[in-house]
Amino acid sequence: MANGNTPPARVITGAATKLSRTVHGIAYDPDHDLIYVPNPLADAVLVFRGNANGDEPPIRVIQGPCTKLVVPHAISLDLEHHEILVASLSSRAIAVFPWDANGNVSPMRYISGPKTRLGHVVGLGVDSATDLMAVANSEQILIFNRTDNGDVAPLAEIGGPHTGIGDEPWELQIYKSRIFLATSNHLHTNVYSGVTLKEGYVKPPEDPWLNPQLGFIGVWNIQDRGDVPPHAIIKGPFSQLLHPTGLALNPKDGELYVTDSIRNGLFTFLAPYFF
């Protein structure tokens, strides 16, 4: 129920945590009371006790060349099948591990390759009812079979001008076969490859402050196909959302939690009719 300028109830921080100051994904496992966090700067996934606090080390660390993690950003939990899904940004891949994976372990499944069309992946989720996986990709949502492996083409996509999804859709959650998506609609143009300047750029890219394209929260059915507008939406100046990237759901109370990095804030929306 935090509201206003309020301090956190607890903070997990310090060298022992092995956290980096860059974190683009987080997932909570209510069945085992665990927190899963990727460390993209160390190619790792960290697992903490649900009640962790202060400079507390993770209880498990998935890390090493066998894991195939390369700048992991997005993480999602398939609670029904007890699996962890991790999307690596730089390698354009999705790795699937058992929920209790630890150390330098190989993924059970690894989706990667040109047929997958995977690009900027910072959101994904599994729907147990349909056995499908939805992935927030560069400019659309890609749909795969939950157990896909290797260089496989997606089954379908949700994308196009009517969807409103522009550049860089971010965190994605699934509830009762509905896809909830934080659509940032901000193109982060990287002028460098590593520390080398790419060719063709003569001036710095436009500042996101000046980007008139508002981001939003959109809801689709996982069975939607093609250029389908969202069935539910939170968008507009009163919503305060400019560049929403983080999204979490609390269906029991009918609430959505959204972080916006431009606003540097956390927003709670009451929308029980979305669920």
Binding site: G25, Y192, D207, W209, K235
Partner: protein, 413 residues
């Protein structure tokens, strides 16, 4: 007459009974009544719905901090100025360095640079050039630029210069002798060096990067002109550089996993002319160092010492400039009286014999005597909010999770 009355009464009774029968629902049916569908389900059942449900919904609750929160800090004794980057409200603030001690309330800045035209966003390291009276500021994420403003800039104005820099840059240092600037890049485990007045899209003149450099998630940086050395504070996160060529938040192509590691925090020193996979001249690392998420770093070239804003330890550590290995600091500033709270920046003012510290954990910057140690109160405090004002501690929150067990919201930064 009585018979007619009885007939009318009989009709009314029958009508009432009929109405009751129509509204009567057997108990059994009540218990098996279908649950009401959500509005979402109703809408979906329709063949077409012109508008999605929801819309421009006002948030029920909003957690954010209305006050500036400091990140980097730099001091210019020549012009009596101290500058801080404000990562929360996305601004640059400058203050007179010799404020009256103990003034209550919010400290009035000399200048505040803020607004869409400035290109100041998720701003981190800051630098002052006293000779040219310019402020340099690094945007760590989203903008991926360095902006340069004149000292007298105020409000929403365009920078003197903008330079595109690699994604996830943090600290910036200036060398007058080389007429160059050096910038740390976290994700790429690199230091990139540009001509001082580089602008727009200009390649670096060189960079320090490679498995032998010891660079691991570098943050603070200082260029010691007197000794021609570059000092870097490293958090320790390390990715297998040899095979990974990721370009940050934009995929650069597939890359084989080289494996990562979380190494202990460290301070590494390089020759000011280093390039490529250069080994450090010295490395400070180990349990005696007390290093824990070291952020800003500042070298006192005359006294042969350097200070580190030790974010994870809520302290400022001062080392001998030539220390190496698992060296203990010569002095430590920490404790409740110091007011040091998640420090991000540190700046040594050798002329006035003072140390400046910028806090991320609250809304203050602190000034201590240059040789202060232990649990001592600061000489002066700059405040961006009334004393005791809390802060949620957000810095570019890009993800969130809900802990249903504790009814808590988890926000990484």
């Amino acid at each position: 007459m009585l018979a007619r009355l009885n007939r009318r009464l009989a009709v009314w009774i029958c009508l009432l009974l009929a109405a009751g029968a129509a509204s009567y629902v057997p108990i059994a049916k009540l218990r098996t009544r279908q649950p009401a569908r959500s509005l979402f389900d109703v809408i979906n059942a329709q063949e077409q719905h012109p508008q999605p449900i929801g819309g421009d919904v006002v948030p029920l609750r909003q957690v954010s901090d209305p006050y500036p929160v400091f990140n980097g800090i730099a001091v210019d004794p020549l012009n009596n100025l101290v500058a801080m980057s404000d990562v929360n409200r996305k601004s640059l603030l400058t203050y007179s360095r010799n404020l009256e001690p103990g003034r209550p309330g919010i400290t009035a800045p000399r200048r505040q640079i803020f607004g869409p035209l400035t290109n100041v966003g998720f701003v981190a390291g800051v630098l002052l050039d006293p000779g040219r009276r310019e402020v340099y500021a690094i945007n760590n994420d989203i903008e991926d630029t360095m902006v340069v403003m004149p000292y007298d800039a105020q409000g929403d104005i365009q920078p003197l210069r903008i330079l595109s820099i690699p994604h996830q840059a943090w600290g910036v240092a200036l060398s007058r002798s080389h007429d160059q600037i050096a910038i740390t890049v976290e994700l790429q485990e690199a230091v990139v060096v540009y001509k001082r007045d580089a602008r727009n899209v200009t390649p670096p003149v060189r960079y320090i990067r490679g498995a032998d450099t010891g660079l691991a998630d570098p943050h603070g940086i200082f260029w010691d002109d007197r000794h021609n050395e570059i000092a870097v504070a490293n958090h320790g996160n390390f990715r297998g550089l040899i095979k990974d060529v990721g370009a940050g938040c934009v995929p650069a192509g597939t890359a084989e996993a080289g494996g990562g590691a979380v190494l202990p925090s460290s301070i590494t020193f390089y020759s000011g002319d280093s390039k490529g996979d250069a080994r450090p001249l010295r490395t400070i690392q180990g349990s005696h160092t007390q290093l824990d998420f070291p952020m800003g770093i500042s070298v006192d070239e005359e006294r042969e010492e350097f200070a580190v804003a030790n974010n994870g330890g809520n302290s400022v550590l001062i080392f001998s400039r030539t220390a190496g290995g698992d060296a203990a600091p010569v002095r430590v500033l920490s404790g409740e009286r110091t007011g040091i709270n998640r420090p991000m920046g540190v700046a040594i003012d050798a002329r006035n014999q003072e140390i400046w510290v910028s806090n991320f954990g609250d809304h203050t910057a602190l000034v201590f005597d240059r040789l202060a140690a232990g649990n001592v109160a600061p000489k002066r405090i700059i405040r961006t909010a009334p004393e005791g004002t809390p802060t949620p501690g957000f810095g570019n929150p890009q993800t969130v999770a809900y802990d249903s067990t504790r009814d808590q919201i988890l926000v990484p930064n």
